[in-house]
Symmetry: C2
Subunit: 329 residues, 2 copies
Amino acid sequence: LRILIVGFGNVGQSLAKLLIRKRGEMKKGKIPEIKVVGILDSKTQVIESEGVNIASALKRKEINGQVGIERRSDFNEILDSSDPDVVVELTRTNPVDGEPGFTHIKEALIARKDVVTANKGPIALGFHALRELASRNSVQLRFSGTVGAGTPILEFGKICATGDEILSLRAILNSTSNYILTMMERNNLNLEEALALSKERGYAEADSRMDISGKDTALKLVIVVNYLLGKRITLDEIYVKGIENIDNSSIRNAIGKKKRIRLVASSGKRYEVKPTELDVSDPLCVYGPMSAIHLRCRFSGDKYLVGPGAGGTETAIAVLRDILYLKGR
Amino acid sequence: LRILIVGFGNVGQSLAKLLIRKRGEMKKGKIPEIKVVGILDSKTQVIESEGVNIASALKRKEINGQVGIERRSDFNEILDSSDPDVVVELTRTNPVDGEPGFTHIKEALIARKDVVTANKGPIALGFHALRELASRNSVQLRFSGTVGAGTPILEFGKICATGDEILSLRAILNSTSNYILTMMERNNLNLEEALALSKERGYAEADSRMDISGKDTALKLVIVVNYLLGKRITLDEIYVKGIENIDNSSIRNAIGKKKRIRLVASSGKRYEVKPTELDVSDPLCVYGPMSAIHLRCRFSGDKYLVGPGAGGTETAIAVLRDILYLKGR
């Protein structure tokens, strides 16, 4: 299986390291052989049809800040010359127009390459267009890593929907804000202090406004609703309120009622993202940098999935899983 | 898709009712057409190659206690004459030798029929033998409903294991004992009173010793460990202690420490099922008739799935899902 990695930030580098650790399993035939035929970052490229030396690429990125020594050429030319089976799109989420990920994915699908991505922008903004493009070109588009990092929220939901029907859902989709709220509770911090702590720990995005404002959660809710509930909603149909105005007195007030404030995304009368008081006995009430989803199913009742919601390695696992599932088809 | 239903107790009848409710979706092509070509109970049969009248079969079972008016003929003859694509084995779990389910499944696989079952006995006792038999005959054996009723514990675990590795697991696999322990906590009942209540609610098995003794949990742990951890363990390798000796003072004692006693199945130094004090903040600490599993994964961390762990309709959903997944291959 030949893969082209597009975008070499935290998740891309984590995937590269993971592939090195998986060599033993590949050699033993436990998982299919995955060969990296190219890696691109924003300015440079390294293309090697016989397989890029991953360790050297990681080293170059670490030392020079760039993965290649060649400047990037035209994306279609790269697709042509590297001839991958799968394009793995891991550039940074752009919530405005999804670029450059959207164009990468679109051109890869048109060139009849399977695509795996962890990039929320293009999937949230162009969900149906990209899925239809994949279908028309008889290739697959997988995006497990866009929601829940390594916690398989989308696959889990799809299983629950099979033969049954998801009536409604509630979810915690931004683990950074969940960590911030937890720290405010536990250590009596204000929002700024908890945010600083989350940056120190590496949880917050470079631009933490995406986390705090609820925008990151809303992007993920669009993906979840379109994929699991079979709807066609867009970002502007979601009512979004972030955690900017949560102060420690509202946190204390909730605790006094055996509740916790969490940034909850939900489907119901309307699609919304907003700070919500959850009972401590509610399985959705999770602590620290976690994601969680609650699905209410017509026939099989209420189900909950909880797991880590962030992290380069965790997201890389979702990407690897998607690549392996492609192979299974 | 032609299915033969073998065993027409709670789950079999729930599946029949579910298929009636799904007719609209089948007609609209949302799910594949599923035609029941035969139903067997322990003494009688109804075989109809053009499709059994499900409503009449349910009615007969309700009125006569038997699904058919014909006495059951030889199982191989039935396979031959009804010519199903899928044999759905739903006879009652026999923890001693897995019969009659084991023979039904074995003969169906030899006759090159796909098999879907919710019967724990044959899968716990003959896991590898039956899987190998299916593989040799190029047919599929699916058994989602054996663990967690409609909560997809096995599928979820398989997803988490893909590309990653499950290092260890803990689980609550018998929702009846979880209900009993919850009632003892909440209503200050002793074991006998809580058991009586669980029978009243229809949660306990006809032979509730399976629930109380931990035997039912152990059967499920064998399935989980063999399927998700790729081991080859048998029932006698599991240390099993039930909840027979839990009294209300130990329940109160745990509550005083902000803990709850739960019947936990786990893999670790050894495979075991035993009453365990869980911290109330542990996501595995669930209340009422629920199942839950905690998977610790090498790369992607700790994940938890929680959902209803019993019920005819819930289990029928797992069976239907398995049937639909067969079709997908």
